[in-house]
Amino acid sequence: MALGIYRALGCVDYDTESRPERPVIDVSLIGPATGRETTLSAVADTGFSGFLLVPLDTYQEFSELELPAKDFLTYRTMVGPILLRRARVIATIFGRRFETFIETPLVGISKFLLGRRILNTFRLGLVGPEKRFCLLEEEGYPSHLRIN
């Protein structure tokens, strides 16, 4: 395992209304067909392996390019399998614009969650005591700190 040095490029505050406080991030969503845009606040959720989970009303507004039903993904949950609808969108997080998917349950309620398929594309740090969620930049792996 190599130990690296990372520098915070920018940080956002946790949602302090929630108990205990939780890391949230603003996500700009753009409908690929119409260019319509909105910004929403999503909880960073490492327990969700998907993309960006949204409530049905947001999904209906931005699912301009929905995938065929055969490409919807099934997720294991505590209450059994759940099938999520999936649509292609453009998103911007921490200033980076990329193509990704929004998802919502075919049946049942939903909320704004940022899953691991998106989280894992960023270098992120949870600075719990300060309640800050940071975008990191790698500064390198100094040889005297390397652990193999």
Binding site: P32, T34, F48, E66, P68, R76, R85
Partner: protein
């Protein structure tokens, strides 16, 4: 609530009851699990049947798989749009005045297990 179901095949019912008993479940608990499973298994096809664009895509699926592998394909109002790149497909959709379509990169967007949605989402 109480439900009376008539016309259940005797052998099927006996097998179901025996299996529920082996698993330590009441008959009502086993039946509820079976209903939940059936609803889940059929939710996708029910959804496809209720959405005209999804239904049109499903009808064209075999033809699309055969002819357009690797390409971006869009279906809206029974019309098929095909392009090499997503941007080109979007241009075609915009020119046709389409703001909502079923879009797939054929052979790339795959179905299956998405993973899990577990503890992280559970709150008081």
């Amino acid at each position: 609530m109480d439900v009376i179901i008539r016309g259940v095949r005797l052998r099927l019912y006996r097998e179901f009851k025996a299996q529920a008993s082996k698993m330590g479940l009441k008959l009502s608990e086993a039946l509820q699990k079976a209903i939940e499973r059936w609803l889940f298994e059929n939710s996708q096809s029910a959804f496809v049947m209720s959405d005209p664009n999804q239904l049109a895509f499903a009808k064209l699926a075999a033809q699309i798989e055969l002819k357009y592998r690797g390409k971006y394909v869009g279906v809206c109002g029974g019309k098929l749009f095909v392009a090499e790149k997503l941007e080109d497909l979007l241009t075609q959709l915009k020119e046709a005045g389409v703001t909502r379509a079923i879009v797939s990169q054929v052979g790339v967007d795959e179905t299956g297990e998405g993973g899990e949605w577990l503890w992280g989402s559970i709150e008081r």
